[in-house]
């Protein structure tokens, strides 16, 4: 960081210095030529001026790389300023001119032995910044010397250089033994050197989580603590973060470290303060609570945290997110500091919301009056989100502090009187919770609530109001009228409201059976017969049966006593909280998620734990085993072996993969074989995302718009070398029932063409439905279907028709392994029984993380469908265009390079006949199916479209489409590293263009 700061400042300085505008005058013709002459001038002063001009041009983005040899010639000088400028130039251009950069190596090596330590340091620093492979070899010797230099400034610079080199060539650094030298530097006599060594080791350790680089013992800890007092603020952050990873042997060691860290709480740099807080929060765990020092420490923690809140808003935000954690773990620290969290009207919204959250956490009987007064104030603010949260907060206070409940309710009633729409709605939602927490206490307010019935337009508020009416139906005279008024627009309501309405009316019926018979029948029929929402129907049926079979039981079920709701909401789960406390000050603490959940490439991140308290010292002794257990646990995989193929298909009780659970990992042998076949030496083939994120992070997985990236080279590199025919493939699906291989008759196409492309206004091409499973072969069940890609999700859309005489139920579906790992992403949603002669539409979302096996033809998919009668098998083919992903647009340059790079043998050419679109219309049409046109060229009336598409497994297909005006025949040339797919892609092209 120090380095960057220096570097950055230097750059800035050059920039502002050069506002001596003469350097920044516009480039004239021949300027380069002029500069060249000046650079080679004999006069030192002229040379220096020339280099300054060159740097100025470079800074504003002009290309002065042509002057490389001339500038490098100026490197051998004893003028420090000139040398710095030349080094700056080198850092910028060495990468684009690696061969020329070698010319500079000699001077570097010489400079590393200069008597002036500043020059030695400058040279080694610059070499580290030049990210050119060829230079790194020459860097080793000078670096080794500099790491042992007599001057601390050189050593500290060299320490950082090791981390930089490691980033370029990790193996080299390890082979050269630099890591050990770096470890030795932790015991250096100079604090700056220690700090930089720690920083470098931390950075290296990040990419090697299990390397145990920072092996801490009491001696090194002592060194670190000594250096802590003397190094720069940035160095202190590294040292403190490093200390936080240490587990003290006993409470005495823990206390002595705490004592030496507490002065850092008075540092002006907020990052230092927060890192110190982290160390203290962690080591405090080991201190006995009755120790005087424990109390002292608690007291010392509050003021610096409060001070953080008077810093810039960005710092406040990070501080508040961390305070939120601290308050949950040790509420006593800030229990008297409620007022500092009061919101100022000009705080940024992100600060306001965080403050509010912490206020609720700190609310107690002692301060509730203050808090309520504040919250009421906030409820009249301008910002809608903030107001809503404030109103909710009042409800949370009522639930948390029983003594305050009454005041909270009256405050909420006041707010309802304001008639501000969103305030009223929020208030009603929270009052529902208050009713649940304190039954039979505040029902007197129901009348006021009912007055506002008409203004409720948000589902949550409507649902809450309906719940209240149903729950207290016996006290509301016109409950039936109120509920009936909601019933009119039943089908326009959201599910939440519909469910609530159903339950409320059933409750009403159980309480006042005589007057409401009609109403209950009406809602039951709406829910069961007219609705296509399975949840609603299920609930409707349950009530219906309950009511018709045993009204007493119904009463017991529907009007049962409800469990109490918990006092605190939104509490972080304790083990997660413990882990987050160990990560105070990091991104994890801002997001309140463990680092393993979101830091890219952090598969090996160790789950940190708080040390045990003094009483349970034995558990502290084995932190390694504990953390080792947390390291990248592979998801439990159900791996059916090859021979179980049939059993696999038959066993339909296997739960389909749900989105949250780990996907079933394919058996490795099979997978390897398939990948090799498809990819044969393909360098960019990440065939199946081998997900390693553990089930702890499901929410995150959902939020991220795209699945996490895995380095393709890791997989590709290993697989590329293995023989093309993997051991796993080759075993044919021998035990397959005959019907599997029966090709589906194409002649039925027209009969079942449901108007082709219905419901596909502008999306991707989807073929018309065809009959996949004729009724004669499946005991009366007929399935026709197609595939579609909608909003990035592949769907299998089916029509199931019951042509038998009896009802069909219990549908389930499963796929055989296939070329692209297609698998159902959820269960088949057919929840109602299928009566004779009834048809039902079902859309099954598919994932591409299933087991892989190469099929013939490639896009063949074997499916098993089960119902209460039997299991049926069929096979169908999906258009490969379903697999074209949305981000399949290649960069122009990449396209060009890839096109050249793929051998000509992999190119195949096809003709598409009788297509009457012009090139633009064709391009548009294809784009809808994620075939992206990258460039268009017109040569002699012939349009050439260059297109790219990417398959779900990462295979790129490049295409050249030639369209001759007036000629209905197109020519498509396809290039792909896996030429097997070309045929399928061509077929898709034809289908896409002609539909």
């Amino acid at each position: 960081m120090q380095e960057w700061a220096n570097q950055l400042c230097e750059n800035r300085q050059f920039g502002s210095k050069m506002t001596d505008s003469k350097y920044f005058t516009t480039t004239k013709k021949g300027e380069i030529f002029e500069l060249k002459a000046e650079l080679n001038s004999d006069k030192k002063e002229k040379k220096k001026e020339a280099v300054k001009k060159v740097i100025a041009s470079m800074t504003v983005g002009k290309d002065v790389s042509a002057l490389f040899p001339d500038v490098v010639n100026c490197m051998q000088t004893d003028n420090l300023e000139l040398k710095k400028l030349v080094y700056l130039y080198l850092m910028n251009y060495a990468k684009s001119q690696p061969d020329m950069a070698i010319m500079a190596v000699n001077t570097f090596v010489k400079d590393c032995e200069d008597p002036n330590p500043l020059i030695r340091a400058l040279a080694v620093r610059t070499m580290g910044c030049i990210r050119v492979d060829k230079i790194t070899e020459y860097l080793c010797e000078p670096l080794r010397k500099c790491l042992k230099d007599e001057d601390p400034y050189v050593r500290k610079t060299a320490a950082v250089c090791v981390a930089k080199l490691h980033d370029i060539n990790a193996q080299l650094v390890e082979d050269q033994g630099f890591l050990d030298t770096l470890k030795d530097l932790i015991s250096d006599s100079n604090p700056m050197v220690v700090a930089n060594a720690v920083a470098a080791l931390s950075e290296i350790a990040e990419s090697h989580p299990n390397s145990n680089l920072l092996d801490l013992n009491p001696q090194t800890i002592n060194k670190l603590l000594t250096a802590l007092n003397e190094c720069t603020e940035w160095g202190q952050i590294f040292i403190l973060d490093c200390l936080a990873n240490y587990t003290p042997r006993d409470d005495r060691e823990s206390q002595s470290i705490c004592e030496r860290v507490t002065p850092r709480l008075s540092h002006a740099n907020s990052a230092v303060v927060l890192s110190a807080v982290k160390v203290l929060m962690k080591f405090m765990e080991m201190l006995p609570k009755d120790l005087d020092y424990y109390g002292t420490l608690l007291k010392k923690l509050a003021p610096p945290l409060v001070t953080l809140l008077s810093a810039e808003p960005e710092l406040q935000y990070v501080a508040l997110r961390n305070i939120n954690l601290i308050v949950q773990r040790r509420p006593e620290i800030l229990k008297h500091e409620m007022k500092v969290f009061f919101v100022k009207y000009n705080d940024p919204i992100y600060v306001k919301l965080e403050k509010l959250d912490i206020m609720i956490r700190l609310a107690s009987q002692a301060n509730i009056a203050q808090v309520l007064a504040e919250l009421k104030e906030y409820a009249t603010e301008v910002d809608v989100d903030f107001v809503r949260k404030a109103v909710r907060a009042i409800g949370r206070c009522a639930i948390k502090v029983e003594q305050s409940a009454e005041r909270c309710v009256s405050t909420l009633l006041d707010l309802i009187q304001t008639k501000v729409n969103y305030v009223v709605q929020e208030a009603i939602v929270v009052i529902k919770d208050i009713f649940r927490k304190y039954p039979n206490k505040y029902e007197s307010v129901i009348a006021t609530l009912c007055e506002n019935l008409d203004s409720l337009d948000e589902p949550e508020a409507r649902a809450a109001m309906i719940w209240i009416v149903g729950e207290y139906a016996e006290r509301i005279d016109n409950a039936d009228e109120l509920l009936e008024s909601f019933l009119e627009g039943f089908h326009d309501e959201s599910t939440q409201v519909q469910l609530q309405l159903l339950t409320a009316i059933v409750k009403l019926f159980l309480k006042k059976p005589t007057e409401t018979q009609e109403l209950v029948q009406q809602v039951l029929s709406l829910a069961t017969q007219d609705s296509d929402n399975p949840d609603l129907r299920d609930r409707g049926y349950i009530y219906w049966r309950l009511l018709s079979t045993d009204p007493v039981a119904a009463k017991e079920v529907v009007l049962a006593e409800k469990p109490l709701i918990s006092e605190e909401t939104d509490l972080i789960e304790p083990t997660l909280l413990e882990e987050l406390i160990c990560h105070i000050g990091t991104l994890a603490s801002v997001y309140h998620k463990p680092p393993s959940a979101f830091v890219e490439g952090s598969r090996g991140v160790q789950h940190k734990r708080l040390p045990g308290s003094a009483g349970s010292a034995d558990s502290v002794d084995s932190p390694d085993t504990a953390s080792a257990a947390g390291v990248s646990e592979a998801p439990p995989a159900v791996i059916p072996s090859q021979g179980d193929l049939l059993g696999d298909l038959l066993n339909l009780d296997l739960t389909p993969p749900t989105a949250t659970g780990p996907p079933p990992a394919p058996s490795s042998g099979l997978q390897m074989g398939a990948m090799d076949l498809l990819g044969g030496g393909l360098d960019s083939l990440p065939p199946i995302p081998l997900r390693t994120d553990t089930p702890q992070s499901p929410q995150f997985y959902h939020q991220s718009p795209s699945p996490p990236d895995y380095s393709p080279t890791e997989l590709g590199g290993d697989l590329g070398g293995s023989p093309a025919l993997g051991a796993g493939f080759g075993a044919p699906p021998a035990a397959m029932p005959a019907s599997f291989n029966a090709p589906v008759s194409g002649g039925l196409d027209d009969l079942f063409d449901l108007g082709g492309g219905v419901g596909m206004p502008m999306g991707s091409y989807s073929p018309p439905k065809t009959v996949w499973l004729p009724a004669m072969k499946a005991k009366g069940l007929e399935i026709s279907g197609t595939f579609a890609r909608r909003a990035g999700v592949i769907q299998m859309e089916m029509t199931l028709t019951n042509k038998a005489m009896s009802v069909m139920t219990d549908f389930a579906i499963q796929f055989n392994r296939n070329s692209f790992g297609l698998a159902p992403a959820g269960p088949l949603q057919i929840l109602t029984p299928l009566s004779p002669n009834q048809s039902i539409e079902a859309a099954l979302p598919l994932s591409t993380v299933g087991p892989v096996m190469k099929m013939e033809p490639l896009t063949n998919l074997q499916v098993a469908v089960k119902n209460n009668i039997d299991v049926f098998y069929f096979s169908c083919q999906y258009p490969i265009s379903m697999l074209f992903v949305e981000d399949g647009k290649m960069e122009r340059q990449v396209f060009l390079a890839t096109w050249k790079d793929i051998p000509n043998d992999n190119e195949s050419q096809f003709q598409i006949k009788d297509c009457h679109l012009n090139s633009d219309a064709a391009s548009n049409k294809l784009q809808g199916s994620n075939v992206f046109t990258i460039a268009k060229r017109t040569v002699e009336g012939q349009d050439m479209l260059y297109q790219s598409m990417k398959l779900t497994n990462g295979i790129w297909v490049l295409a050249e489409l030639r369209v001759q005006t007036g000629n209905p025949n197109y020519t498509v040339s396809l290039k792909c590293r896996a030429p097997e797919v070309s045929q399928c892609v061509f077929q898709s092209y034809e289908a896409m263009l002609k539909n």
Partner: protein, 370 residues
Amino acid sequence: MIHSLFLINHSGDIFLEKHWKSVISRSVCDYFFEAKEKAVEPENVAPVLQTPHHYLISIYRGKLFFLSVIQTEVPPLFVIEFLHRVADTIQVNRSSSDSGGGSNVGDTLPTGQLSNVPWRRAGVKYTNNEAYFDVIEEIDAILDKSGTTVFAEIQGVIEACVRLTGMPDLTLSFMNPRLLDDVSFHPCVRFKRWEAERVLSFIPPDGNFTLMNYHVSSQNLVAIPVYVKQSISFFETGPCGRLDITIGPKQNMGKTVENMMVTIHMPKAVLSANLTATQGNYTYDITTKVLVWDIGKLNPQKLPNLRGSLSIQAGTPKPEENPSLNIDLKIQQVAISGLKVSRLDMYGEKYKPFKGVKYLTKAGKFQVRT
């Protein structure tokens, strides 16, 4: 750590980018622009944003966004602090280049880092030896409708300007150091002596620097120098409202309150203000809906008053929100917390320096609710 840095202006143009390691496409900023669009006000853009492959940490200073792109787990405060330093550097450079400051490219590399007193260069020489300290306090407070203090605290800072020859060792002591709740020091201050004796003992850096920051929290009673009597009301019927504000001195330790200014963010519906001020001038900006009343010196004999009517857009409902008043003021020669420097001693050098301490109290985030 920080992978790239973008400087973005108010209207969303990237005008400077710096990449370490490798170039990250500008398109990564699109996520930021999206958030900026959503936040409406630039101040409301969340400082930490998550994108599929990077984290964006930004600060907003002087109408510029400093946006850093990071890829690995980094302490965000580290980054934010760093960005603020970058912003400082740029500001300094701006002002120094404006005033035609000399070369910024030193012929020597930083040398201090290796000595035992890294913050001070060796061989400092002055003909006039002087050490000046400014004790500056800002009052952060929220007062409610009735004028009662909801919350008040003081942020203090001691700025120093020390030009002393050689290696002077200074000791600064306070009359009442126990007032201070939380302190943070320049690295030159010996923390142990503060812990033990509550005195500031230090070898100062050369020139201007911040000696310490401190915090006097709401646990102690914070004196509020002025009182504000105000009423802003809107009528249920008819397109108008009334405003009446009077300000008077309260606890100001016998000193004059200067640079008094009241700023009010009016509800959107307020079209214009027709007011009379007994002292100072007022302006109402129709576009931003900000009413500013610049009072100047507060005269205890004749209290300044601003009153009159507000007109509201016809047909709009009565505004729901209550505008807050933002107060600005200055009091010379007083530190409102009562903090006083008792003495300044110098050791290690023989000469007699000029010494001086000045006090100043200002309003920080000082708000009155209505």
